[in-house]
């Protein structure tokens, strides 16, 4: 008999009693079946305690899920209210964590930007295609492995242990056991086939990293912020150990582990890198650049404001111009209303002293100046007259002839912008033709007067006549009118007839010559045949205007 069988013997005595008890239980159960509903809560509770627990969970989970689903749909506010106290703090914490990480990264990247080392890392980032921030993190993150445990997987026995030297002692064996237990516990709770094990956890100021292998588990208590590469390195070490152990019967895990997990190597300690104090000059240069940039911007602003005001005042001062829009787009661009009778925009560029682009739109202005121009143009104001416009009142002055007055004066008040016409200062004279006629008639009454019995004429009289005839000639020329004169010599009663005839011819000839001297063409003068009309010592002329 083995010890084990002996013990079974010991147990057997109780078995009958146990059977009787069970019979009683069965009876009680069938009685209880009737009011199962009342007992359901108790039964579920019991099932929860017993071996049927997984089955119970499986049976209930679809029902619970459906009920939850239903209540979420029907009374979402209740769920929200219930979750509120949990979600709020969780979100706040997550945001705070993220922000802290973000700020750290930014700080590091800023610090590293200007140092030679920073440039070297930039080069590394550029070469490797890894973002700069990550390269910086890789080089600057400081962390330390405080404890490293290699734990036998099944029993949770510690195979190898490293602890940083100056740390207080701890019960590594118990911790190893507990870690194993907790790992089992997590796996058992999660019940994920094949997966679901504890990979990392935060323990106080430590980050616990756990890597599980088939035979051993590696657990590292890390202080600080380890890079992702550490996880990989731990896995690598563990895999190496397993590879070494495979097929080696007497594999001495503790010794091999001590060799593999070379504690002094980079795996365990990564001291904080020496940080050179950040030089000041990059900041000064940066500040200088910023200052220059800002000053330039401000100056630009002021200058642009000044130019804008200048353009506005030029346009405002110019009659017949109105500014619609003013913009700067590399060059000043204006949209301008301009009366065609106002000054041209070339004037603007000249005044402003720089290039401008003008988009002009024609309009009729009621400013005095363009009205005056319009009046000059419309009324064909002769050189002898002038216009002035003051607050819409068109004042005409100077001299015009009646023909102009007849034709143009009625138009004056119809000119756009003219409110009233003032002609008090306008003298309306005869027309040129009338004056020509009058002059010719005047000359017809005039004569060259000779001394009795002589054909000599005094020079003053003659030159006065020449001057007057010249006026006639010029007036006729300006009117493009042809004039012709018939010249007649006269004699008085005394003297012989022969002598008188000679005198008449001579006197006519002298007048003829005088007219010629005044610019009258030879073909325009006819000397009348000896036909005495008047008995006087003179020569007369008769002008005809054609």
């Amino acid at each position: 008999m083995t010890k084990y069988q002996q013990l079974r013997e010991l147990l057997l005595g109780d078995e009958r009693r146990a059977l009787q008890r069970q019979q009683a239980q069965i009876d009680a159960l069938s009685d209880a079946h009737a009011d199962l509903a009342q007992q359901l809560p108790a039964l579920i509770e019991a099932a929860e305690q017993g071996p049927a627990k997984p089955a119970l969970h499986q049976a209930l989970s679809p029902v619970v899920a459906a009920a939850l689903d239903d209540s979420v749909r029907r009374a979402p506010q209740r769920i929200v209210d219930a979750l509120f106290p949990i979600i709020g703090p969780a979100i706040r914490k997550a945001i705070a964590e993220a922000l802290r990480g973000f700020v750290l990264d930014i700080n590091r990247a800023m610090e590293m930007s200007f140092t030679p080392r920073g440039l070297r890392w930039r080069l590394e980032s550029w070469r490797s295609g890894v973002p700069f921030a990550q390269v910086v993190l890789k080089h600057t993150l400081s962390y330390r492995i405080d404890h490293l445990f290699l734990i036998e997987r099944e029993a949770g026995i510690l195979l190898y242990r490293y602890s940083a030297p100056e740390l207080p002692d701890l019960d590594a064996d118990a911790i190893a056991g507990m870690l194993t237990a907790i790992g089992d516990f997590v796996r058992d709770s999660v019940q994920a086939p094949g997966g679901g094990s504890l990979a990392s956890a935060t323990v106080g100021e430590h980050l616990l990293l756990v890597r599980e292998g088939p035979q051993a588990t590696l657990a590292a208590f890390v202080r600080g912020v380890p890079p992702a590469a550490l996880h990989e390195r731990l896995s690598q070490k563990l895999e190496d150990l397993h590879r070494g152990a495979a097929g080696v019967p007497g594999f001495d895990w503790p010794i091999e582990a001590a060799r593999a997990l070379d504690v002094t190597a980079a795996l365990v300690v990564r001291g904080e890198e020496q940080r050179a104090p950040m030089p000041k000059w990059p900041w000064i240069v940066l500040a200088l650049f910023l200052a220059i940039g800002f000053s330039w911007l401000i100056w630009q602003r002021i200058e642009q404001g000044r130019e804008r005001a200048q353009l506005q005042s030029i346009v405002a001062a110019e009659p017949g111009w109105r500014l619609i829009a003013l913009d700067r787009n590399g060059v000043w661009q204006l949209q301008l209303l301009r009366d065609p009778d106002a000054r041209s925009v070339a004037h603007l560029e000249k005044q402003f002293g720089g290039p401008v682009e003008v988009d002009e739109i024609a309009f009729l202005s009621l400013d005095d100046m363009p009205i005056a121009r319009r009046a000059e143009r419309t009324l064909a104001i002769p050189a002898t007259a002038s216009v002035r416009v003051e607050r819409g009142v068109l004042a005409l002055s100077g001299e015009v002839d009646s023909a102009w007055a007849e034709r143009y004066l009625p138009l004056a008040s119809a000119i756009a912008g003219v409110r009233d016409v003032d002609t008090r200062a306008l003298r309306i004279g005869p027309t040129a033709r009338e004056r020509l006629q009058a002059l010719a008639e005047e000359l017809n009454r005039r004569a060259l007067v000779f001394p009795r019995g002589s054909a000599d004429v005094d020079a003053d009289q003659r030159s006065a006549l020449v001057a007057e005839v010249r006026r006639l000639v010029e007036l006729a020329q300006s009117l493009d009118v042809r004039i012709a004169a018939t010249v007649t010599g006269h004699s008085d009663e005394g003297g012989s007839e022969r002598r008188n005839r000679l005198l008449r011819a001579e006197r006519a000839q002298i007048l003829h010559d005088s007219l010629r001297a005044a610019g009258v063409g030879a073909d325009q003068i006819v000397i009348a045949v000896d036909n005495p009309q008047a008995l006087a010592p003179k020569a007369t002329m008769h002008w005809e205007i054609r």
Partner: protein, 166 residues
Amino acid sequence: MSEARKICLLGDFAVGKSSLVARFVRNTFSDKYLTTVGVKVDSKEVRLTDRAVKLVVWDLAGKAELDSLNKTYIRGAHGLMLVVDGTREASLRAALYLWMQSQKQLAQVPVVLMINKLDMIDRWEVSSADIARLSESVPTFRTSALSGEGVEAAFTTLAQRVTERP
């Protein structure tokens, strides 16, 4: 580093497992793990005549039966400490039943039996005859977590047994 051996305490509810561990080991973890994780691990170095051995003691939350989680907890154990409450006869059967159950998990590992609450011996239900019969098969100790009597001896015996095995 001395050799480490995993010891699991098995026994019915309230027989005094945790109290015995508290008496024997240095307490590293709070008892709350017993309720949350269902186990609490402590360790103690035991000096034997020729060597030192580190006992890693797994105190499993008291149950009359091994559930699946407890079965994973006892995996790889080098020795078992069965704990019985001398004032409750049923706890003896529970301990033996648990042992039987653990047989499926563990190869024949050294076992030590503790009949606890020796300070209340006047109320014991477990008879001396039973104890005599048991001690023929298993090293059996009368212990008291309260007074500490027998505790050291029981653990030292188990330490001896677990280190004897290759």
